[in-house]
């Protein structure tokens, strides 16, 4: 076990990628699972609050401590087992997504959830039910979690396998390896039927494992996870498609979203039409940013989409024909698209998308600002109305902004830059307006970033106070002294 109390180390663990800032007295870095379990029991015996730090890549302050101790999972980073035949991996929580992907790629496998920040850890991904570009086809982290070993606040361990512990209606019973039983009464709430990461996952007859996925460290600490992985497709086409017209990029996105949602239900080798596994959007301001890094973005481009399409030798010609003819209808820049079919190109395109997030972070740090932006998503049939609404409103703020992200999932982020307090108020007002509109349309306040410490107000907008009170009761059942990740969600 490594223990650090020096100011520099503590400062490092007191900030996340949104530049949210907190403080702690001590940082513990367990080097194996036994040390993790021991330190949790020890700290909780002394009533010391515990915040779990993964990759510190979060955007809502959920990994940032407010007081007490930080436990960092950085040394719990073993890929314990890769079972190629059963398409499953056993991981410690500190394994970084990029390390896992590289290891899997060696043997032609991949892990579908692909958060933009691949420095994030698997533990962090599970705790926030992280999603990313490929969530469009494959869903969020939740869909890939088969088994979790969770350390509770008192040091007890839950070993949950998917399908083994189910709620009876709205009553859920779980028993720890130590034999202690917990009974939870779940509130009868309805979650939006879209990509969603706000508050506990609650459903009638739900699986106990799902309660812990996305609970932002408030119910227990993940010590080990068994995740499902997938065989790499025979061929993969990636592209950055450029558009010279802001309306036509949206029309193109609507068409390919609908085609993909229909065709992704079938074997990728059989499709003869578009079935993208991801569709990511860049507006003109985003491309403006990217022009600082890449000189080869076509001068006439005012928007772009990053797409990936799984293919086989049999259908690649048909799919490319379809893509090209559709693209020509909607863009004068069809011949300028960047197209790649090898891993290097795919990583380049992924980096192109990620560079945008990094560039934003850089600017925030330089100017000492916190990130202000939206993480809302809405059902497909309301997307156009929602998109027009947020873009109209964000323009009205007069602030510098850009819009980008997961247009496949109807989940486009708007991020704003502010120079002073009054601009900050304008930006926050805009975000609240966007959230209210998303909720009116049956959407979510947070599709992927989670609630953490920064977006608690959004959770209150989403659920009635009784529902939030019952979520707090779940928390106090597992963590009566409110020690784990204090300040997250509530």
């Amino acid at each position: 076990m490594i223990k650090k109390t020096d100011t520099d180390t503590i400062e490092y663990y007191s900030r996340d990628a949104s530049n949210y800032h907190g403080t702690a007295d001590v940082v513990y870095i367990p080097e194996d699972q036994a040390e993790l379990i021991k330190i949790v029991a020890e700290l909780s015996g002394k009533n010391i609050p515990i915040t779990i730090a993964g990759g510190l890549t979060g955007l809502t302050g959920s990994g940032v401590p407010l007081s007490g101790a930080v436990i960092s999972t950085e040394k719990l980073n073993q890929i314990i087992e890769i079972d190629k035949d059963n398409l499953s991996v056993v991981l410690e929580p500190g394994v970084r997504v990029f390390e896992l992907q590289a290891k899997l790629h060696e043997i032609n496998l991949f892990y579908p959830p692909n958060p933009t920040e691949t420095n994030s850890t698997i533990g962090g991904n599970i705790s926030t039910n992280a999603s990313g570009s490929r969530t469009f086809k494959y869903g969020a982290t939740r869909n890939f979690v088969d088994r979790l070993k969770v350390v509770l606040a008192n040091g007890d361990i839950l070993d949950l396998r998917r399908g083994e512990v189910l709620a009876d209606g709205y009553e859920l019973n779980v028993t720890t390896l130590q034999g202690n039983e917990y009974t939870i009464n779940l509130p009868a709430i309805t979650m939006p039927a879209i990509k969603h990461a706000a508050g506990y996952y609650i459903k009638e007859n739900m699986d106990a494992i799902d309660l812990f996925i996305g609970s932002e460290g408030t119910l227990g600490i993940i010590a080990e996870a068994t995740m499902r992985v997938v065989a790499e497709p025979e061929k993969l086409l990636g592209g950055i498609l450029f558009f010279d017209n802001e309306t036509q990029v949206l029309e193109f996105a609507d068409i390919v979203r609908a085609k993909s949602l229909a065709n992704n239900k079938f074997d990728y080798r059989k499709n003869l039409d578009i079935s993208f596994r991801l569709i990511e959007y860049f507006d003109s301001h985003s491309l403006g940013f990217m022009r600082n890094i890449r000189s080869d973005i076509p001068a006439k481009a005012v928007a772009a989409l990053w797409i990936e399409q799984e293919m086989s030798r049999e259908n690649e010609t048909a799919i490319m024909d379809e893509l090209y003819s559709l693209l020509k209808e909607k863009s004068q820049l069809a011949d300028e698209a960047w197209i790649g079919a090898d891993r290097k190109a795919h990583l380049d395109f992924q980096d192109f998308r990620h560079a945008l997030a990094l560039e934003v972070h850089e600017k925030l740090v330089t100017y000492g600002q916190e990130k202000i932006g939206t993480d809302t998503a809405v059902p497909n049939d309301c997307f156009k109305e929602y998109f027009d609404f947020i873009i109209g409103n964000v323009k009205k703020t007069g602030l510098k902004y850009f819009a980008f992200g997961h247009i496949g999932n109807c989940h486009v982020h708007t991020d704003l830059f502010v120079d002073n307090e009054s601009e900050s108020q304008i930006a926050h007002y805009y975000c609240d307006t966007a959230i209210k509109k998303a909720l009116d349309l049956g959407g979510t306040v947070s599709a992927e970033h989670g609630i953490g410490k920064k977006k608690k107000k959004s959770l209150e907008l989403m659920y009635r106070s009784e529902a939030i009170e019952s979520m707090k009761l779940i928390k106090s059942t597992f963590d009566p002294k409110n020690l784990l990740c204090r300040g997250n969600l509530f």
């Binding site: 590289a102 010609t317 490319m320 090209y324 011949d335 300028e336 698209a337 197209i339 090898d342 891993r343």
Partner: protein
């Protein structure tokens, strides 16, 4: 300007290589093959020279029917013609150089471009061997190239600096990282590349002079162990140096 670009097909650099049951080749089951990354630089340089000076870029590879995929990639990037010399499955550098020389004699290029090395066997011999066989100047590991009025000026990376070399055309250049940034193929070019003809030729009478008698995966480096300044760890360090490493 008539430019010949020599390319090879190599396993994707991120693939985990497994040795085949014969013990002297890799098991290609499930392995993805790509254009040798250094050869992509050679293709790009050929295309840029053609865009500047006009002419024809021809890509050639020595291989089997499987190698058509890398030739299609070259076509998608924009080369005008491709040649597949059908030869031995696992040729050595001499065999490849002899066959490339035979193609060069037929095609009579002003400039021959290659990657500095193929990332599969890393022999680095072909650019020089080709120069020897053809009696042409050959400049290796080039990171900057200028051709004006038939005069070639090339910068080579050398230990701690760079060397500037001049030659006249025709000559041979092997490409190093930094020479350019290879382009992404365009959709219409990818589609056109699928139906373009591949000029297939039989291998020249040449024989490999070396053969692979065995392959081994390198031993993994031993993982380091970090010890702290606690008394227990100091004792452990002394024990490890004495008993495990046997140096004290």
């Amino acid at each position: 300007m008539n430019i010949l670009v020599c390319i090879s097909r190599v396993p994707d650099t991120a693939t985990k290589v497994v040795i085949g049951s014969d013990g002297n080749s890799i098991d290609s089951q499930g392995v993805k093959f790509i254009v040798n990354p250094y050869d992509e630089l050679a293709i790009e340089e050929g295309l840029r020279l053609r865009e500047k000076n006009g002419g024809v870029v021809t890509a050639v590879t020595i291989g089997t029917d499987k190698s058509t995929d890398v030739l299609r990639t070259a076509l998608a990037m924009g080369v005008d013609k491709v040649i597949l010399v059908k030869g031995e499955e696992n040729p050595d550098s001499f065999y490849v150089a002899e066959n490339l020389a035979a193609v060069a004699k037929d095609e009579n290029p002003d400039l021959i471009l290659l990657g500095r090395q193929s990332v599969d066997f890393d022999s680095l011999q072909i650019p020089s061997a080709l120069g020897e066989i053809l009696g042409m100047p050959s400049i290796s590991v080039v990171s900057k190239l200028t051709i004006e009025d038939g005069k070639v000026t090339a910068e080579r990376d050398i230990e701690g600096g760079c060397e500037i070399v001049e030659a006249s055309l025709p000559c041979i250049i092997s490409a190093q990282k930094g020479l350019n940034e290879p382009r992404y193929p365009k959709l219409p070019d990818i589609m056109k590349s699928r139906s373009k003809p591949i000029d297939q030729r039989d291998a020249a009478a040449a024989a490999s002079r070396t053969s692979i008698i065995g392959m081994e995966i390198p031993l993994k480096q031993r993982a380091g162990k970090i010890l702290t300044d606690s008394d227990d760890d100091i004792n452990e360090l002394v024990r490890m140096l004495h008993e495990d490493a046997k140096v004290i």
